[in-house]
């Protein structure tokens, strides 16, 4: 056996082993999620009963960072007033918008300047003014110099008056009972420090006055792919890790945190893109280092709907940003990796993220390129090449279908058989190009992180989901 052949054999085994391990790990998470959803289903009866507020629920400060949101901010805030929860306040943080966000807010909500006594728990860019609504006593607006989303959230945390805060994107559509659902773990388990809920794609849905009125599927193919991706990411990615108290990501679009824990952890890092993930990983690291008992829980109920990008360029930029955020979150909390007190986050979730999510693009694309190279240069036969593709795509489809199964086991948000048929086609189709493209974008993100480019607000081309789809 020549040296070349030995190398090819080794590399082939490595590629096969990596793909099998990657998909096997996801399937293991899937199994954990099935158990969690089953437990959740058993409790559905209790959820369906009339809910009574006792007034003992912990108060929540909803923080809404806004940058150039003049078109959507009014509807978003109005829909937030419809949330069913006993005690909450809304704090909009205008992050030096260049458009008329502040003017629109002032006009629509009758804002007046308020002499808010400054509370500087976390360092932020200077505050230019604080406003209070005459119509809504629980609405405040903070106007500050531009500093990015993380900086805005920190300014909001400083102003928050409640023990819990919830960071939401200005364009998020929240389910009416979303606060009630994500706050439940805090009431059941006093050790809970953060919770996150499922985020779904709003494209194709009907939205009236900022509230989701009918669930549908988008006609745009990019958005359709993302519907399946979100199912996979939330229903078995996060739910599976949550079962092990090892969830490292809570979506920036909607997450609930204990205010004092976040202040003690130093708040959001303003020099990072993935501030949402970085904060959660840091909380894990710090609390584990101190040996403080805590829980970070995922609530599988769909609580937040977000508009997904529908054009190639925005989607590409979003995925590149996400990968950079992941890289920053992991690299700045390396101390958690296999640490003595790391527990499931340090010994399972962190290594998983490093191997499959962070380095995944390099290894996955490397695997594809290696097989193409080996076939082109006659190191492997066409049968071997075809079988490799058969395995990689077969496992990919299996994973996507399992995401669909979890949805069917739990929430049935897509009620029609037509929805099911379309989603079934998409879970197959996404494995022929879209997933590989995504891996490429992640690789670009990894490169850009290594090149250390500056972070900024992600620009999103919005079509708007506020009207019925044509």
């Amino acid at each position: 056996m020549s040296g070349d052949v030995t190398f090819t054999e080794l590399a082939t085994w490595f590629v096969l082993a990596y793909f099998t391990l990657l998909n096997g790990s996801y399937l293991a998470l899937n199994l954990l999620s099935i158990f969690a959803l089953q437990k959740n289903n058993e409790e559905k009866l209790l959820e369906s009963l009339p809910q009574v507020f006792t007034g003992l629920e912990p108060g929540i400060s909803i923080l809404v960072p806004a940058y150039n949101e003049e078109a959507t901010i009014t509807a978003s805030i109005r829909s937030m007033f419809q949330l069913t929860y006993s005690e909450f306040e809304i704090i909009v943080i205008n992050d030096g918008s260049k458009d008329k966000t502040l003017e629109v807010l002032t006009r629509e909500f009758a804002l007046l300047p308020f002499p808010d006594a400054p509370r500087v728990g976390l360092e932020t860019k200077p505050i230019r003014g604080v406003y209070r609504s005459l119509q809504y006593p629980n609405l405040r607006v903070i106007d500050k110099q531009n500093g990015g989303k993380a900086d805005s959230l920190n300014a909001g945390i400083n102003a928050a008056r409640h023990p819990l805060f919830c960071g939401v994107d200005a364009d998020s559509i929240l389910a009416r009972d979303s606060l009630q659902l994500v706050a439940k773990p805090f009431m059941k388990h006093p050790d809970t420090v953060a919770t996150g809920g499922t985020v779904r794609v709003a494209n194709g849905c009907e939205v009236t006055d900022g509230s989701l009125t009918k669930v549908g599927l988008p006609s745009n193919i990019w958005a359709l792919f993302q519907v399946v991706e979100y199912l996979r990411a939330f229903l078995f990615g996060r739910l599976g890790w949550s079962r092990l108290n090892a969830m490292l990501i809570i979506s920036g679009a909607f997450g609930l945190f204990k205010t004092d824990v976040v202040i003690a952890a130093g708040g959001y890092r303003s020099n990072t893109i993935g501030e949402d993930m970085e904060l959660v990983v840091r909380i894990h690291r710090l609390l584990r280092e101190k040996g403080t008992p805590y829980r970070i829980e995922f609530v599988p109920a769909p609580v937040c709907w977000t508009e997904a990008p529908e054009d190639f360029k925005t989607l590409k930029n979003q995925r590149i940003r996400w990968q950079r955020g992941l890289s920053e979150s992991l690299s700045s909390n390396w101390g958690l990796m296999l640490s003595r007190r790391g527990g499931p986050p340090g010994w399972l979730a962190f290594p998983f993220m490093v191997l499959f999510e962070w380095l995944g693009p390099v290894l996955e694309l490397g695997g594809y390129f290696f097989m193409i190279y080996a076939y082109a240069f006659g190191l492997i036969s066409w049968q071997a090449f075809a079988v490799f593709l058969f395995m990689a795509i077969g496992l990919g489809i299996l994973l996507s279908v399992s995401g669909l199964l979890l949805e069917e086991l739990s929430f049935h948000m897509y009620p029609k058989f037509r929805h099911l048929a379309v989603l079934s086609l998409v879970v197959v189709a996404e494995n022929f190009g879209y997933r590989q493209l995504n891996t490429w974008w992640r690789l670009v993100g990894l490169y850009r992180w290594a090149a250390q480019r500056e972070s900024a607000w992600g620009e999103m081309k919005r079509k708007g989901v506020g009207s019925k789809p044509k």
Binding site: A117, E408, L409
Partner: protein, 352 residues
């Protein structure tokens, strides 16, 4: 070079791919089956509700029990869900009427059987049902459920026991009510309200004998239920508790002016959370001599203490807006000034 399927690499990859395809087909079949099953179940439930909802509403509103159709065993689950929903939505006589209907249909027997042999979802349904029916015959089975590790089943079983016999229930459950941290205070307050006298009796009798570590939760429950604990118990707890959390809860709960001399000492406590609660107490029960210490609190390093001190001053009956404005005029400390402006503006907003 790998040429044929006899190579172990190719065979391995092929087997994995084949297994993936086979599993995918199985999952697709499961998804379709689940969807069909769900559709059928929804149709049956809707049809059931169309018949039974008017009957139950008639039973609630009329003096005479309506003729009840036969309840097939296959529809028992639908009935109990609908019945429990109405029970949770209504109060008073309506609950009793619904109980009469359930007893007429033998739901007590069915619920006992579900509690004994049902799966977890059925057990939860049975516990809820037996709680509404005040079913004494299930006492022992419910005690076993209340002791279970399952948070949800156990807390609902506790509720059932207290519904059935408030005095015996609170007496039996007191240690668990205080020890089980997986039973949320808000949830407990929801159903302990119906047995608050019995609970207060048990709590007052036992609070000073119990482990100090349980005081905080005992006080939280008393606070949630707005129960007034004996003055001497409160004084003893404040003086002898060895955790800051307990002290904070005790000061927040303290509602006797007689505690004023004791609470005054805590405005200089090292933990700012204690200072906040002490300021709050002085705002509720303090006298003119306390305004001096509260004014000093306006310069505290902690924002929340400054806020509590300013709020306390503003809430004192003898210290109105005029006095606050006077105080503002003679205050030179910037943080104290900012806080006075803040609270003055808040009062202006709330009174406008």
């Amino acid at each position: 070079m790998f040429n044929t399927f006899s190579d172990p690499y190719i065979q391995f990859a092929f087997d994995i791919g084949l297994a993936a395809v086979a599993l995918t087909l199985v999952l697709v079949a499961v998804i379709i089956r689940l969807r069909l099953k769900l559709r059928k179940s929804q149709r049956l439930e809707e049809a059931f509700i169309d018949i039974w909802r008017p009957i139950l509403l008639q039973a609630i509103s009329s003096e005479v029990m309506p003729d009840l159709p036969e309840l097939p065993a296959s529809s028992q689950g639908f009935f109990l869900k609908l019945w429990n929903y109405l029970q949770e939505s209504l109060r008073g006589v309506a609950n009793e009427r619904l109980n009469e209907v359930a007893l007429e249909l033998g739901c007590d027997v069915a619920a006992r059987a579900l509690l004994k042999k049902g799966n977890r979802a059925e057990r939860l349904l049975a516990i809820l049902t037996l709680a509404h029916l005040h079913d004494r015959k299930s006492w022992d089975a419910l005690v076993a459920q209340a002791n279970a590790v399952d948070s949800l089943a156990s807390i609902h079983a506790a509720r059932a026991l207290i519904n059935i016999d408030p005095l015996a229930g609170t007496s039996l459950l007191l240690p668990m009510l205080l020890q089980r941290r997986d039973w949320g205070i808000a949830q407990l307050a929801n159903f302990l309200g119906a047995a608050e006298e019995a609970f207060l009796l048990q709590l007052s009798k036992n609070i000073l004998q119990m482990d100090k570590a349980l005081w905080n939760r005992a006080l939280q429950l008393a606070e949630a239920l707005h129960l007034q604990l004996p003055l001497e118990s409160m004084r003893y707890i404040i003086e002898h508790c060895d955790s800051t959390e307990t002290l904070v809860t005790a000061l927040r709960k303290a509602d006797e002016p007689a505690l004023l001399p004791l609470v005054r000492n805590y405005l200089q406590h090292t933990d700012w959370r204690v200072r906040v609660e002490a300021a709050g107490f002085l705002g509720r029960f303090g006298d003119t001599e306390d305004t001096k210490t509260l004014k000093a609190g306006l310069e505290d390093a902690q924002w929340w203490v400054r806020y509590a001190a300013a709020q306390a001053l503003a809430s004192m009956p003898f210290f109105g807006t005029v006095q606050l404005l006077e105080l503002r005029a003679c205050t030179h400390n910037a943080t104290a000034l900012a806080m006075l402006d803040h609270v003055l503006a808040e009062h202006q907003v709330s009174s406008s």
